[in-house]
Symmetry: none
């Protein structure tokens, strides 16, 4: 008995997201998604190769959402100053508004280190790092930031934001001006020292 649907795929994704955010990725079973979506097991596997593919699809959407929030940071000609500040600010604001989603991404990142089913996700995350590294190298060549190995640079700029959001996701109260504060700190941590004029 096939019932009509606008978009089964969409329904499944929505249901999966709800489940993942509520209980986490591991604790979410295909059965739970089946019930939450109203779709059959077969339907789910018709659209998604496996559970990992569902996570992948949702993460792609999430990343898109966050990128939009930090759009300014993506302009390749923007000054480092603005790009970095906006990037961090965008991340923090988006993260404060999407704690459950961020927690989900964190779980996935963590699991991806061991779970072959999430290999694609791992690849995507690593690619993001490559882009970031290139971006930072560009700023360094323009002498806007101190040259730093990428892992250190990334840590200095985004580490506090992630750390902060992780605490908020674990139940801590958000701090009023966190986004601005962390954006400022990120920039302060990597900016090149002012050229001393004669």
């Amino acid at each position: 008995m096939t019932r009509p649907h606008r978009d089964r795929r969409r329904e499944i994704l929505n249901a999966a997201l709800t489940c993942f955010l509520e209980r986490g990725y591991r604790a979410t079973t295909i059965g739970a998604i089946r019930e939450a979506s109203g779709a059959s097991t077969g339907s789910i596997y018709h659209f998604f190769a496996n559970k990992g593919a569902l996570a992948r699809a949702l993460l792609d959407e999430a990343v898109a959402g966050w990128s939009a929030a930090a759009a300014a940071a993506l302009d390749p000609d923007a000054p480092a100053d603005q790009a970095i500040r906006e990037s961090v600010r965008g991340l923090v604001l988006w993260g404060e508004a999407n704690t459950a989603l961020l927690r989900f991404m964190d779980e996935i990142r963590s699991l991806a280190l061991n779970d072959p089913e999430l290999a694609e996700v791992r690849a995507a995350l690593e690619q993001g790092q490559t882009l970031g590294a290139a971006r930072f190298a560009h700023f360094a060549r323009r002498r806007e930031v101190r040259p730093r190995p990428w892992p250190v640079a990334h840590a200095l700029m985004l580490g506090p934001a992630y750390s902060y959001l992780r605490l908020v996701g674990a139940g801590n109260e958000p701090a009023p001006a966190a986004a601005d504060l962390l954006a400022e700190a990120a920039w302060a941590a990597v900016r090149a020292p002012a050229a001393t004029s004669p």
Copy 2:
């Protein structure tokens, strides 16, 4: 047929740690620990209530190891300057030398958010936060650091270190002077501005 042992409990813990570090917590089965330790299933459960209790015991040891590495940071009368720098430095050096263990701790932290079996672990982690917050408040009262909400302070000081170690754990090359660099940055990010003299 009971065979004699020096310390069955120890053997089990060692085997469990090996498995956890190699494959991760979730991917490690009791059966794997059984085989790696030579103990029987029953013995494992004789000493540990469940898989989570094994993780808990190992984490306690790991934390002890890292605390030793950052011993100076624990002296309540040490100047903030030194306490914070040494704390971060110790964490980074220990983390660089124990990447697999840190990855394990990260997985556990992530899973603890959803898995009731790891509830105790979550509690322990939260307690660690409480202690850190008290420590920081102490420094703030002494005007050595800027007053900041704890989540922000924690993020500014330790966020970069965790972020950096996470990248190293995921395969990135360690950077030569990372420990000093991150220690310095941590202090710079929270220190109180020099009192301006008249």
Copy 3:
């Protein structure tokens, strides 16, 4: 590799009944039912939530079978005389022909007092008591039977039948006219004294 079946659910129930009757409920493992039915573990749990649900389904069928045997007793307008005699007679005859099934029901009843997995079964049994009590109260209002608290009435009417069947189930020889004898005794034990005419 899915093979076609007339009715997997039925096959599983049949196999489960066979096992339960042969070895008892507790001693029957899901593995035994799997082998006896040819179904997979997963199939069994696809149709039945747990072992208790299997027992429940079989008991429902057994009760239906016995009710059919005592159909006359269910006519609400039948005289108490006939209803009670037939009810007991039907129970005894059915029980003599289904000793193993009765033993199984007895085991379940006994276990249901402590095993949460059999909570539903307990509820069903209690409901049966409620119906019987109502029935008896009806007869009492019509002055066909002496008024008695239900536990006593139930005991006087059905206690001997159950006791007898329990002995037969434990290996004693069935007695030739037991059904009629016990039916008669049941009626004699509860009937109202003849109204003395002037």
Copy 4:
């Protein structure tokens, strides 16, 4: 570290009884008895060959207690009238005062049908039947009771009492004069018809 005890065996039995009555025989683990008694696993097995032996020992005591309650019934020369009445009365009164113990005995009886560990218990129960049968045959020879196959006689006399006590054990309210009522009914159900004089 051996601590002194008046009677370890006794402590273990008491603890076992408490557990059995609270949770039932199957649901009681040796571990539970260990904790409740304060004895070690080894101690328990020092005194009792296995779990079944514990049940056996407790049942023996229980039977002794009930026999004492129905002492009069055991006088071989007592008239059937009195022996049967007192026997049933004693059983009911004792059962009303020891519902949990009776429930335990019922569980054991039920399990003994399938569980080899309880074979001894089964033998003891069957022996009780043999004694009862001999007793009844004696009365029949004296023409005090109608001749009946033992299963039927047993059912007529004791069936109601057991049925009633089972209901009380399952939570029904005890009925005020149940003991007398059931004793009377037991006698009425088996007594020989008054010899009709010419």
